[in-house]
Symmetry: C2
Subunit: 331 residues, 2 copies
């Protein structure tokens, strides 16, 4: 711990793992005198990371929120949790969140110690991106492409066109865009000599050619707009149902991700907006209450499909949807 820089970093790490530290403990931990510790604390403050100090018995130092996020010092387990969690968040389909999540993921993956990779993959295999409405893109693909965009590295990959034709592409990647639950890559196609947008779920075996390229301005400048005009993004469904349960109860289960208006003491109207009909279906299934569809018509078809299949699966012996059957609550 000879270095000042390394000590400052260690101090930051200590302040992150425990909220409260007496000065003497910190000094001992860092192997320096208390005077030097005070100077180190000052250094952190100058760097813009406010360290609050309290005096008297039980006094000590504490790292507080400042103007900027301090460097995060994570241990192995935390690093793994981060990698797995952000991989999921990247597929969340929430505008703004997913793109930043991919950036975080890219940063972590780039420096994740190799021995942790296996753990990340094992855990990732258990995760369900249930929230995602669209196809799930493997995290490795997502990060590799994000990295190529960020670092301006040429990329080669297999691509299946809408017509189902397998092609091989070499591109200068420009931006990743998440739109309507899908991921798109906007890139300059070196074979076609033009800008293209590629759906990530139709793309396979991306690999880095290793060669750099100077940034090329995208006509129009807005990558998201480019994707929007190049492809027809699936539109969102607005599902409205009348739930036979008190608004309170529905709110407790559905929480924030739907509008709930009470109709009377026993019923409420629930509005959900989603690019996929699977979401609202699952939500209503989870609810455990009877309900009526108000709109849209395609949601009726969707429910009928699920319901019919479920009752088929149960076996016709039980009698299909006999009104005499008690509504059993989920286990």
């Amino acid at each position: 711990m000879a270095n000042t820089s390394s000590r400052t970093l260690t101090l930051l790490s200590l302040l992150q793992t425990h909220r409260h530290w007496p000065g003497a403990d910190l000094a001992a931990r860092l192997g320096v005198s208390e005077r030097t510790l005070r100077r180190d604390v000052d250094r952190l403050r100058e760097l813009g990371y406010p360290v609050h100090a309290s005096r008297g018995t039980d006094g000590g130092y504490r790292l507080e929120p400042g103007a900027v996020l301090p460097p995060l010092l994570l241990d192995d387990e935390e690093g793994v949790a981060l990698a797995v969690g952000m991989g999921d968040a990247a597929q969340s389909g929430i505008a703004g969140l997913d793109e930043a999540a991919v950036r975080v993921l890219t940063k972590v993956v780039q420096v994740l110690p190799p021995r942790l990779r296996a753990r990340v993959n094992a855990l990732r295999a258990m995760t369900v991106s249930a929230a995602s409405s669209g196809p799930v893109i493997p995290a490795e693909v997502l990060t590799m492409i994000a990295q190529a965009c960020r670092d301006q590295e040429r990329l080669r990959f297999h691509y299946t066109t809408r017509g189902g034709v397998q092609t091989e592409r070499e591109v200068e990647p420009h931006r990743l865009v998440a739109l309507g639950g899908r991921w798109y890559l906007v890139a300059y196609d070196l074979t076609r000599h033009d800008w293209r947008s590629f759906r990530l779920d139709r793309l396979a075996q991306p690999r880095d050619t290793g060669s750099h390229f100077p940034p090329r301005p995208l006509p129009g400048g807005d990558a998201a707009a480019f994707v929007r005009t190049a492809t027809q993004v699936p539109t969102a469904h607005t599902v409205v149902v009348l739930v036979h349960a008190p608004a309170e109860q529905v709110r407790r289960m559905v929480g924030q991700w739907g509008e709930i208006e009470p109709v009377d003491h026993h019923r409420c109207r629930l509005t959900m907006i989603s690019t996929s009909l699977d979401w609202p279906t699952q939500a209503l299934g989870n609810l455990g209450a009877e309900f009526e569809v108000l709109r849209p018509p395609e949601f009726v078809d969707h429910l009928r499909d699920w319901g019919t299949r479920f009752l088929h699966a149960v076996g016709r012996s039980a009698g299909p949807a006999s009104p005499a059957l008690p509504d059993m609550p989920p286990v």
Copy 2:
């Protein structure tokens, strides 16, 4: 940028935001001579963060995975994504992942600039913890309690006992335990003068009393075991179904979170283990294929409940589950 420490940190940050940096650029960016840059790079290497350098045209520096995870330097957006994403991961119900995720979340929340909090909350409101089988714990509650455990701070909260009685508790928090999709707090109850485990979903208005306490050894030592004996944790269901679809197709949709064995070219056996029956139900709904339940019996009841309600919702006019109805694919 007078300080060496701050410059080293900045260098680390630059190396994280772009994979490849020519030495001259870095030196200019940091406002030092190239010789000093080389020394800074050496410093990072000594700290255990391997910086790879390539020579010749198009050479430069690159941060590589090392033995330990380097401090992560995130910008505002990334910080927000991290906070939201880890809040979700904490509810994932995946053993090992959730506890580490809470630790990361606690670290971030403690130092998250106030102006970003609002954005985190707004985004959090849109997230669905669809993967979670149990009740969702607000992220603030989770982090506050995790922090109190970590920093040994007394905690006061409202608690609803299993009998439905509202009580007020003051405890010395020991550990957070995630078990069977639920969160528990193991703590020494200062009113009852004994160790207790509390379900976080029955707990309200946690607040920090501000007073510290010396760590107290938990009898037996293992907090998870304590919860397991104190409460009867819901057991996992093993759902086995015969899916009328090729193994390939099922694997593509279900992915990793279930065992798939082909039976013949058109059918396969799918095994899923979950603490909640909602999960497998949703998965099979999403699949869009016909299937038969092999076990367990309670899954049959569960499916019948969903299916019945769905067809009720559609309206009896359409005829309940008429076999003549075509299986409509999800929209």
